[in-house]
Amino acid sequence: MNIAWIIVLPLLGVIAPLLANPTRRNQVAWITAVLPFAALLITLYHAPAILAGEVVQQTWYWIPQIGLTLSFRMDGLALLFTLLILGIGLLIILYARYYLSSKDPMGRFYSYLILFMAAMLGIVNSGNLLQMWAFWELTSISSFLLIGFWSSTGKARKGARMALTITGAGGLALLAGILLIGKVVGSLELEAVLNSGRLLVEHQWYPVILALVLIGAFTKSAQFPFHFWLPHAMSAPTPVSAYLHSATMVKAGIFLLARMFPVLSGHDAWFVTVSLVGLATLLLGAYTALFKHDLKGLLAYSTISHLGLITLLLGMGTELAAVAALFHIVNHAVFKASLFMGVGIIDHETGTRDMRQINGLFKYMPHTAVLCIVAALSMAGVPLLNGFLSKEMFFAETLEQSAIGALSWLIPLLATIAGALSVAYSLRFIHDVFFNGEPKGLKKTPHEPPRYMRIPVEVLVALCILVGIFPALLVGDLLKSAGVAVLGGTLPYIPLYIWHGFNLPLLMSALALAGGIGIYARRKVLFQFQSHFKEVDANERFDAWLYQVITFIRRIEALIDKRSLQYYLAWLSVALLILLAAPLLNLSLVGDNVVITPLTAEVWAGTALIAIAALATVVNNRRRLFAALLISIVGLGVSLAFARFSAPDLALTQISVEVITTILLLLALFFLPQTTPKESKPGRLLRDIGLAGIFGGIMATLTYAMLTRPIETISDYFLANSKTGGGGTNVVNVILVDFRGFDTFGEITVLGIAALGIYKLTAGMRLFLPATNEDGLPWSRDKYPLILKQVSQSILPLALLISAYIFLRGHNLPGGGFIAGLITAIAIVQQYIGHGNDWIQKRFYANYVGFIAAGLSIALLTGLGSWLWQKPFLTSWFDYFTWPVFGKFELASAMLFDLGVYLTVVGAAMLILAKLGQLTVVEPYSEKED
């Protein structure tokens, strides 16, 4: 099994929970867990090789011509993270099953959760920086959905928005940084970047790149000064906090630092920035955590502090510090996730998270209490637990570093203080919650949670203890291979022992413990002191800041956007003029040896007809129906011109589009006044005519120049290759579905989105039907004229047959999915005209959104299918077969792709037209006529 499946399986798993029966909660959880579990098995299958130092890679070609591939790469660092993500993820799935109440939409929750999991796996296993960035943004989005899961509360919505804004903005900075890296290195492949040595560090853009990448990492990992979003993200359901905001997502920034460590570190700027930011975050988080009364708030700030610790380690620059950082990533994930889950249980059982209310829970839930106490002690860094080991390494490294030059002696001191603070808040957590008298004012009597809700906590706490006692045995190899990946070479000896003898780090630990106990004992004084400061609400600050940004942008927008089509057009035209000025001046009109086709009478006549009709359209623009009619005549004329100049494909398309446009215009016209008043003053009219004239002239000149060039275009290539390369003789269609399949795919996606947009925008919109036309004549009472009704019915099968025919012959003769789709849509619209909405809805399967979805999926899957044969995305395939009786026929993957185009076009066109047609409500006109 190749490693790409580690990401793809969970990605497929996004739909799994939605398919399960939502009333059977166990079933939903099981179905959700299956695919991540499979991914975990694949990871374990590859683990031995990676632990032995191999790097597993897998590449799926996307658009190899411009260097875009989907590549996956798993080394020691990725393995460590993958195990963390999948392992804790599975535990969270089990936990969430009991945490969510029966009122919550469980399938949706799991779906978001798995989406996040897949995105996170994508980040750590990407072999391409751009691809990693895409997954990076996906984690921001899925985190937004998860934080805002209880979207009925304002807090959740605000928290979600803030997290998205901060991490999204950081993501954009990161994108810029990545693109610069790509520019400098010449490739976005991780392998190439990692092998570029000191190229980046010595490049003149290094400061910019570093700043951009660090902003990305710091926003994601909630480092000072971007840390404020994390506490607000705590309005998410607790499993989300445990998973995203302690164990995984916030580690993505750390991961990025570790990933880029070999190529971006090794410069003073890195050491100073990273270590100082880490230190600041460490202290600020630890200090603030102490004063939080909300259990999750305490844990959130503690998380910030620990993330700062890891950042600090990565900024110190010694090799062992980097390894210590990796070790602490694992340890922190394990104890913090278990603490969050424990808090979730407490919240679940007591209905509150306020430490001033929750006291003495040991009596009520001793089992949970023991688990939480062990995890909290690990957080405090008490010996025999995993937290102790990495903290000890951290202390040792603070003594070794010289990250901030002469002032480096400050770091061990501040580290010890931070350690003491962390002991203090851990103690507060343990003592306030589980001892310290009786609970106050709880709505219910707390008791132990369901058996299975505790299992994930038990597993993680067991890991705390086991790793704490047998570190080398359990995580030694993993750390070693991850360390090799981060340091980009062989690794120094890692001292994974509990006992290092009496030394300075041990003393620091002891000081921290004693200091922590001291601080906790004297906490009243500290609380007193802290109460002098006004508490800053990050939310308010954030809103104020956001408001300022928006006001600023509005002001700029007001300068250029006057909400007027003429204005937009003028801007576009002027911009175009500026861009075109230079090339236009140098344009020589007639190319050499081009034979110009003589003008015949019929061409003159046809051109004159089109021109007159177009002119008449303009002149009559205020008589809207007449104008619509004239436009359709112009379209007909153009279609004839296409036919005359041997472009039957275009003629077919033009005529179909024309009719659809007419119908759309008629639908829209109904909601507008039949005539419009004269709005433009003569001066303006003159100006507009002048502008239009200039641009018409320019376009005509360009067209003429284009047509008189010697013919050396790309079309020769297409003509030569369409039969051999795409298996079709209709070059236009082969270009659409094969050579330029990617463009087409993009286009139908846009089409689908546009249709959905219109659908959504007009959702709740109701327009009253005027009782009469503009002359005051009441509408005819004959809704569906009898004969029209009869014939519409017989036209439909014929039209569908024609569209099927046009579709099937598309590959070799004029036709194809797009035209066929339009014809089908028009035929269905005819039914709407003849029979009305109700009639259709009773008789046809009219789920147009489903059409769009099916069409896009088919097109996408056809494209992805080529990966099964190790070919780039959307590589087409065709072959000829001979069957007895039926004879020889061709099968081509492009046909399937075309089917996707067809379905999308039908769905989009119908969604728009039918939706517009349904806007009216019953006319308020009485039956009496005249």
Binding site: L777, D782, P785, I787, L788, V791, S794, L798
Partner: protein, 125 residues
């Protein structure tokens, strides 16, 4: 055969022209509605027959022409019917000829005599 095709083509051309003249010269919308009928029936029929035979002289008989004809024969009366209905609805007047205002009114209201009588009796009750 060649002369036959030529004759068909000329016939078609004449009928198309005829329709063109008719739509210019006819006096009211209702009469103009009649104008396309010769072109779309006989003119188009002759033209399609010519096209079929034309193809036939080179390759095989093209049945597609039949389809075009069938579609036209089904659709053009509907267009005319809908247009006439619209003209009635918009109270476009009849020009010249024999004016029968009563029947015009009946057609416009989609009632025939008997139902009108029915209505009158309803009103008297």
């Amino acid at each position: 055969m060649e002369y036959f095709i030529a004759a068909l083509l000329i016939l078609a051309a004449l009928f198309f022209l005829l329709s063109g003249v008719a739509i210019v010269r006819f006096k009211d919308s209702y009469s103009r509605l009649h104008a396309p009928t010769p072109a779309s029936t006989l003119g188009m029929g002759a033209l399609l027959l010519a096209a079929m035979l034309w193809q036939g002289s080179e390759d095989t008989l093209s049945i597609k022409a039949f389809l075009v004809m069938a579609v036209l024969f089904v659709t053009s009366p509907i267009s005319a019917y809908m247009l006439a209905k619209t003209a009635l609805h918009l109270r476009l007047p009849l020009a010249g000829g024999r004016q029968l205002p009563e029947i015009y009114e009946q057609a416009r209201n989609r009632r025939n005599d008997s139902s009108k009588a029915q209505e009158k009796s309803d009103q008297s009750v």
